[in-house]
Symmetry: C2
Subunit: 158 residues, 2 copies
């Protein structure tokens, strides 16, 4: 897949992952590495915790939403640089055996004010379970090179 420039992105363009199961082993493996709280690592102790059972780390779901997009090809060779995340919300717990669908939609496109040879692409990411329950949402901002240095550069084609 080739590189895309800022001008190639379309407002509203979207992508959806295949159904992606999450196992107890995956929940525990991520949490042992990065969020070793009993509700994520120990089914017996998790049963006495706030979710009455083992649940995935919220950071696991965020990372999984990135993984699925990249594995699908993402934006190809586009050298997008992640700037940040806003309004990340964990709406509902993810348990072993849940099957997730990640969706990503281009929500805003604007020329970078600090660096007009680049554009800012904001995407809305949602993760839902097999029954449609929303489990996570966030807005991601990335910077990509533009074909033209300015939106209406004379003598350059867009």
């Amino acid at each position: 897949m080739s590189a895309r420039f800022f001008e190639d992105f379309q407002l509203g363009e979207s992508w959806e992952s295949p159904p992606t199961p999450v196992s107890a082993d995956e929940i525990v493996a991520f949490a042992r590495g990065f969020d070793p709280q009993p509700m994520h690592t120990d089914a017996a102790r998790a049963a006495a915790g706030p979710f009455k059972g083992l649940v995935a780390s919220g950071w696991h779901i965020a990372a999984l939403s990135m993984r699925e997009f990249v594995l699908s090809g993402g934006y190809g060779e586009t050298p997008m640089v992640g700037l940040g995340i806003d309004e990340l919300r964990w709406h509902a717990p993810v348990r072993a055996g849940d099957v997730l669908i990640v969706r990503r939609e281009v929500a805003e496109l604007r020329r970078s004010t600090s660096n007009p040879t680049h554009g800012i692409v904001r995407t809305r990411v949602t993760v839902r379970k097999q029954d449609g329950t929303l489990v996570m949402s966030l807005i991601s901002a990335g910077r990509v090179p533009a074909r033209t240095g300015t939106p209406d550069a004379v003598g350059e084609s867009a």
Copy 2:
């Protein structure tokens, strides 16, 4: 470490991690699992990428900031439930050999309006490199049980 209630948190209380090195192996291992882009997984291809070398996935740094806090004891047995993240910004790349210090500070405390038996704790997390460079910042919100059902409950001690 015992459980803390909402009333036990103090505005401005802070915690800082020990210096935490990040190796090329760790950068590649996280990225293979969750962000398999060449700039995170392949030093040779990363050299031709936007950062001119291997850099850690931003999600790796976010997850690492959680891991260090939990490993240090975190908020002990407090059944804090993560609600979300705001204003996450990746300010500078993290490269193999960098040594990170994570800092977490209680930035806001308020009673939950939807559920007055709980409180909302907002913390500001920053990650800096050995030379002081800020590499990531975010604001994290969590919900914890309160000792008293309402701030001024008659007949209950706070």
